[in-house]
């Protein structure tokens, strides 16, 4: 194989799959999250105790309650705010949601109380509540749902926490791979003098960058395939998405996070600095972007910020595609957000990424 690009790509893939640490963080870690969260929270068989305080008493709230009763995973309780809160405090409820009187008339922020001791169950319960409320509001009052996440009609189906979790974890692992793999390897290559040695050959720099980018994009596809297969095999994942759409959205997300990785490698002095900066970027985003829990858990003042994070757009688009069978047009809002981020991060990468070692 005398083609430099083909050879560089092949060696990049070999290096990738032989690096146990990288395989652990990019494949095994996300798989573990899905398996463990799936075991803890269950795949729809475990019941969530949801208390609803129906202050609206209108068709919209009725629809929400009716649909919740159909969900096998949900055991529904209704009552006054006081009694439901008391039940929650005793640990008999995973979450208590108040349907305000204005439900169905204007977009509402639901007040929710949840069991801090059972965060996973609570957030799964809240995620499900959100979907039903948004859908019911939309159907009865033509009120636009408060989330793009739930913009698609949810036809009575048995959503489990795993359905919510898997696309989120896919988004997270795409972020981790792009961010950490790019930033770590390029800083290491620079520090060790590897780039310098390569520059002493007639190698073309774009060939080298491309070989790395192709490798990480392939990894993104592998991650998606493994996580979806895992969800389907172990947890009856509700997956109705078109894989092509998933891959396209996944690639855009991967490109954004690789661009951030290139940016970091441009100014990080060593691998310690990379770890600090990349974690600073990715860790808060992981929790703020609704990877593990629905966005509605976060304080209202934080939500406008979290809704604009690149990981939020990515996770939401992947969720709509895989759970609702959405096409690219249906997730155009998220795609627009991703496109803006892609432009921002590419400009940053081009400005700050330094190939030269000195």
């Amino acid at each position: 194989m005398a083609n430099p690009l083909a050879m560089l790509t092949m060696t990049a893939i070999k290096m990738y799959v032989r690096n146990i640490q990288v395989i652990f963080f990019n494949l095994f870690f996300p798989v573990m999250i899905v398996v463990i969260f799936g075991l803890i929270i269950g795949n729809g068989n475990a019941t969530m105790n949801i208390g609803v305080v129906d202050q609206a008493q209108n068709p919209v709230s009725q629809t929400v309650l009716d649909q919740l009763r159909q969900v096998k995973a949900v055991r529904l309780y209704t009552g006054s705010l006081e009694s439901e809160r008391a039940a929650l405090e005793k640990g008999d409820r995973d979450a208590v949601v108040v349907l305000p009187p204005s439900l169905g008339q204007s977009p509402v922020a639901l007040s929710a109380y949840y069991n801090a001791g059972k965060p996973q169950e609570s957030s799964a319960a809240l995620a499900i509540m959100n979907r039903f409320v948004d859908e019911a509001s939309f159907r009865y009052a033509q009120i636009q749902p408060s989330f793009t996440l739930t913009a698609q009609p949810v036809h009575s189906r048995n959503l489990s926490y795993i359905d919510f979790l898997v696309p989120g974890v896919i988004a997270m692992s795409i972020m981790q791979t792009g961010l950490f793999s790019v930033a770590f390897s390029f800083v290491a290559f620079k520090q060790l003098g590897i780039l310098r040695r390569l520059m002493a050959t007639p190698m073309r720099v774009p060939d080298f960058l491309l070989s790395r980018i192709v490798t990480y994009l392939m990894m993104a596809v592998v991650q998606m395939a493994i996580l979806i297969a895992l969800g389907l095999l172990l947890y009856h994942l509700h997956f109705v998405g078109n894989p092509v759409y998933l891959i396209i959205v996944g690639f855009i997300g991967a490109a954004i996070f690789m661009a951030i990785g290139f940016t970091i490698s441009g100014f990080a002095k060593d691998e310690g600095a990379v770890a600090a900066i990349a974690n600073l970027v990715s860790f808060p985003m992981m929790f703020l972007a609704g990877v593990f829990f629905s966005l509605s858990n976060e304080p209202a003042w934080l939500q406008p910020i979290t809704k604009l994070l690149p990981l939020t757009f990515l996770a939401d688009a992947l969720r709509s595609i895989s759970l609702d069978g959405a096409n690219l047009w249906a997730v155009r809002g998220d795609l627009l957000g991703l496109a803006v981020w892609l432009v921002i991060t590419l400009v940053m990468a081009i400005r700050l990424f330094k190939w030269e070692v000195v």
């Binding site: 430099p4 060696t11 690096n19 040695r197 390569l198 050959t201 190698m203």
Partner: protein, 303 residues
């Protein structure tokens, strides 16, 4: 390398010979289009017409970093098949000079013709004609020596017999190992192997024996000499004067960005003695290194 290149091409060689020499090197590179430009270039510049018989011609090279003048008007010529030493204290400008010749840095002024090609005009072509062993250069982890050799060859658009190249530097039995498992001497030999994949006309060795034990140093000297016998030119930077004395046909001593002396080691020594220099203590017939090698043997110590 061809027999033609083995012919001594020193001094003012005649035109027909030079023509044959250049055409031969063109076919070696397998690139006729850019090869032609090498043939035509001597007519374009006054300097290049004098570069024949020389692997490297450097004329008035200058490089400054801010207020620091790293290279201050350096000129020298390296003959074909010569081992040429660049000596000088740290920060003297050796590495900057070498990096300009390797096409890794741009000079602020002056010209450098390496393997018949102007580095300023066509650094990519120079890179394809030379081999480089960098000071403390590392290689990708997670790849075997064979895979690395194949990768480097591909960067030159070549396919090579990787085991044969590893055999050339005595690393055949390490073909499936990774670089991090190699000893210091083996790493340097491997580094030279990666610099040989394109059958370079000029090989740059930057402090190749720093940190090696006496056995490994001698082993590397033999390797350098055998590469010279293959018909290649070597530019060596080193801080070890015994190494320069043993290996180099000629050396240039650089300080503060200028060449302050340039000749064969023996001539430079004779000149010093002629100026009345005497060592305070007369050297014995043997030194401690001879004792060390007598006690521990010349055999290489590597796992």
């Amino acid at each position: 390398m061809s027999e033609l290149l083995r012919l001594p091409a020193r001094g003012g060689a005649r035109a027909p010979f030079d023509c044959a020499l250049r055409l031969r090197s063109n076919t070696d590179s397998g690139d006729n289009v850019s090869g032609m430009s090498v043939v035509t270039r001597p007519e374009e510049s006054g300097l290049s017409t004098h570069s024949q018989g020389f692997a490297i011609v450097v004329d008035g090279l200058r490089k400054r970093y801010g207020s620091l003048v790293a290279v201050d008007g350096i000129s020298f010529r390296v003959k074909e098949r010569e081992i040429f030493g660049l000596l000088g204290p740290n920060g003297a400008g050796k590495t900057t000079t070498v990096e300009i010749l390797e096409g890794l840095r741009k000079a602020d002024a002056g010209r450098a013709i390496v393997a018949g090609v102007d580095v300023t005009n066509d650094p990519q072509r120079v890179k394809s004609l030379i081999g480089v062993q960098l000071q403390a250069s590392a290689f990708f982890d997670y790849l075997t020596l064979v895979e690395l050799i194949d990768m480097f060859a591909a960067l030159y658009g070549r396919q090579v017999d990787a085991p044969a190249i590893l055999r050339r530097v005595d690393l055949e039995e390490k073909a499936k190992s990774r670089v991090k498992t190699l000893s210091g001497g083996q790493k340097q030999r491997f580094s030279i192997a990666t610099a040989l994949v394109n059958e370079p006309r000029v090989l740059f060795l930057d402090e190749p024996t720093t940190g090696l034990d006496p056995q490994a140093r001698r082993n590397l000297w033999e390797l350098a000499q055998s590469i010279q016998k293959d018909g290649r030119t070597i530019v060596l930077t080193t801080h070890y004067m015994d190494e320069a004395e043993t290996l180099c046909d000629r050396v240039a001593v650089i300080d503060h960005g200028k060449i302050i002396a340039m000749d064969s080691p023996i001539t430079l020594i004779d000149q010093l003695l002629a100026r009345g220099f005497r060592r305070r203590r007369v050297e014995r017939e043997a030194n401690l290194e001879d004792v060390f090698l007598d006690l521990t043997g010349h055999e290489l110590r590597e796992a």
